[in-house]
């Protein structure tokens, strides 16, 4: 009997099952129909991508100051280049831009601090970001204090205004939404009916109507001494509108928490507020991250609607720039730039939410 004592040495997997070729064979060319579709898809991709890349990069003009520097064969990024400061800060006075820069930098540092897990003192940074920072940002941007020249809000614009609208809307809508969601599930009839009416009212009207009411009707009812700044009016409108949506997202999460959780907490002698803050809310918010971020992203994009009340947000300032008679006809470049900026912010929000979901994952997903 022949008996081989040695183990057969480990062999690499057969050529046909590893590497890109095998992957392509398994996923792209696994049969005649799939092969045809793959080739068709590649052809469509080729048709779309080649002209796009040629337009956006190869034939594009990048350097210059006026439309004469554009050859007209590809994209004219000179336009975006010349207007870049305006797209970011709106019509904010050029010599005061450092104020906007400080606020931008502070905002970025705070966001990074809160987002990077290794950094300490999260609680204090969060408290600072929610209380002191808005005041500092307002004083810096608006001026009128400490010898800073006053910059009225109608000169704010561009990406700066978009971020202000979105961040204030998000930070305002989340707590109001939580309170409204809890109120709607409350047993107290007045609280409950107030919350139901509030939510159903704001969910029932389009945001455009809200902004129009705030900018066209409200000034007619109020005497001119009481007139509220139009940016503030828009901010209040957006916050109340989004908080109604947020309330329903949170209520969905509240309903998904088993009743036993709250009953067990009550059995331990916890008060309503302790049960809510320590047991129910952490689970709800964690579970509703996709829904909450969804609302945030749609809020971020909805801020462009302030354009119709004459505020120059990122999209508004691009459109205003397109109406400069020296830059007529570069709408494609302008809109591509605006779309790209919006995509960067929305995509980062979406990625961060996915990271947060993984980090907070405790086996609740099914």
């Amino acid at each position: 009997m022949i008996h081989n004592q040695d183990m057969i040495p480990q062999q690499p997997a057969p050529r046909s099952t590893i590497g890109p070729l095998a992957w392509m064979r398994a996923n792209l060319f696994s049969g005649p129909i799939n092969s045809v579709f793959t080739l068709l898809g590649l052809y469509v991709l080729y048709l779309l991508l080649v002209p796009t890349i040629q337009w956006a990069f190869i034939n594009a003009d990048w350097i210059g100051t006026s439309r004469d520097d554009c050859s007209g064969e590809g994209a004219c990024w000179v336009f975006v280049n010349a207007r870049f400061t305006q797209f970011i800060y709106g019509l904010y006075p050029r010599e005061e831009l450092w104020r906007g820069n400080i606020v931008f930098a502070g905002f970025a540092i705070l966001i990074a601090w809160l987002a990077i897990p290794r950094l300490p003192y999260k609680r204090w940074v969060a408290i600072f970001a929610l209380t002191a920072f808005p005041v500092i940002a307002y004083v810096l941007l608006h001026g009128g204090y400490f010898d800073l020249p006053r910059v009225p809000t109608h000169r704010w614009g561009g990406l700066m205004l978009t971020l202000i609208l979105a961040v204030v809307g998000m930070v305002g809508a989340l707590p109001i939404g939580i309170v409204l969601a809890l109120g709607r599930r409350s047993n107290m009839p007045i609280v409950k009916s107030f919350c139901v009416v509030f939510i159903e009212f704001w969910r029932g009207v389009p945001l455009i109507t809200v902004l129009f009411m705030a900018s066209v009707m409200l000034p007619l009812f109020l005497p001119s001494e009481l007139s509220v700044d139009r940016l503030i009016r828009a901010l209040i409108g957006i916050t109340l509108f989004q908080s109604a949506y947020m309330a329903e997202v949170i209520r969905g999460g509240l309903q998904a928490i088993p009743k036993g959780q709250e009953e067990a907490a009550a059995a331990l002698g916890m008060t309503y507020w302790k049960r809510t803050a320590l047991i129910v809310m952490p689970q709800t918010l964690k579970m509703m991250i996709p829904g909450i971020v969804n609302t945030f992203i749609s809020l971020f994009k909805d801020t462009t609607l302030v354009m119709i009340i004459g505020l120059f947000d990122l999209l508004g300032i691009v459109q205003a720039a397109l109406s400069d008679s020296r830059w007529l006809g570069f709408s494609l470049e302008g809109y591509v730039f605006a779309a790209f900026m919006f995509w960067i912010f929305c995509f980062s929000m979406s990625r961060y939410s996915q990271y947060l979901e993984r980090k907070l994952h405790t086996g609740h997903k099914r």
């Binding site: 305006q86 009225p152 007619l220 001494e225 004459g310 120059f312 008679s325 007529l328």
Partner: protein, 341 residues
Amino acid sequence: MLNKKHWVLLASAGSLALTGMTTAQADTLEDTRSNGAVQCGVSDGLPGFSSPDDQGNWQGLDVDVCRAVAAAVLGDSEAVDYISLNAVERFTALQSGEVDVLSRNTTWTTTRDTTLGLNFTGVSFYDGIGFMINRDLGVGSAKELDGAAICVQSGTTTELNVADYFRANDMQFDPIVFDTSEQTVGGYQAGRCDVLTSDTSQLAALRIQLDNPKGSMILPEIISKEPLGPVVRQGDDTWFNIVKWSLFAMINAEEYGLNSANVDDMLSSEDPNIARILGQGDNYGEAMGLEADWAYNIIKQVGNYGESFDRNVGMDSPLEIERGVNALWTEGGIQYAPPIR
């Protein structure tokens, strides 16, 4: 006990009292002086009339009216707060006092002048529907357009006015209707029609967006009346006069050959008309609450009407709109200002 009806009455009386108070206190000139800037409502972007330039400064023919008022009232044409307004909210913003001058390519019509509590102060631009044609057609007048295919935007008064014009002149045309102005330009560019029609101020902006702007020209005929001008609130006649005469001063300045370059030399001019405009001797601004150099400031800082026209929409601008009816009455147009005396 008060029932619901009483409450409604009380509330409306209260709001009336509040509005009454504000109207009684309205002294726009005083408010503007204490504020240090003219609150001026402009368009949120219209080529040649109001748009921010690369540096973020507002520019345009409508903007120059704001600057003229600021120069007359405050002596500084830069002392303007520009509030961008869209077509819907422009009148509300003026009525509610958010702006004190509305200079936003607004057509002067009976309804607007009489029912909105507003006053038009003059005409800064005579707009109207015109025609753009391909130069190769060799047509020099709209009267030669019989049988032409005309690109027009649907749902606008343009469509009706063009039909009226062709019927009145006993001509035929073939309307090719598009939804948006971009599509209309696209149709013209693709050769779907021989003629593109729209407001003349728009035509110039559309022409630049063609692949070959030089290949097209705008015909001299304007077939409808769209007089655009600044608007103020009713009830403050001093302010109404200031805005009205700021524009008149610019037009008068052009008529008498005053411009931003020569106005300092002209201070010593012997011509009594020029001396009156520049406030040498009698002060014609006094009755409006202005200094004697109000018109001098306008001409020095903003320029005369012709300068403003050429710089923003005329031959020195990319739009290259002909003066046409906007030329002075002495040069074949209809821009005419009452004399300063």
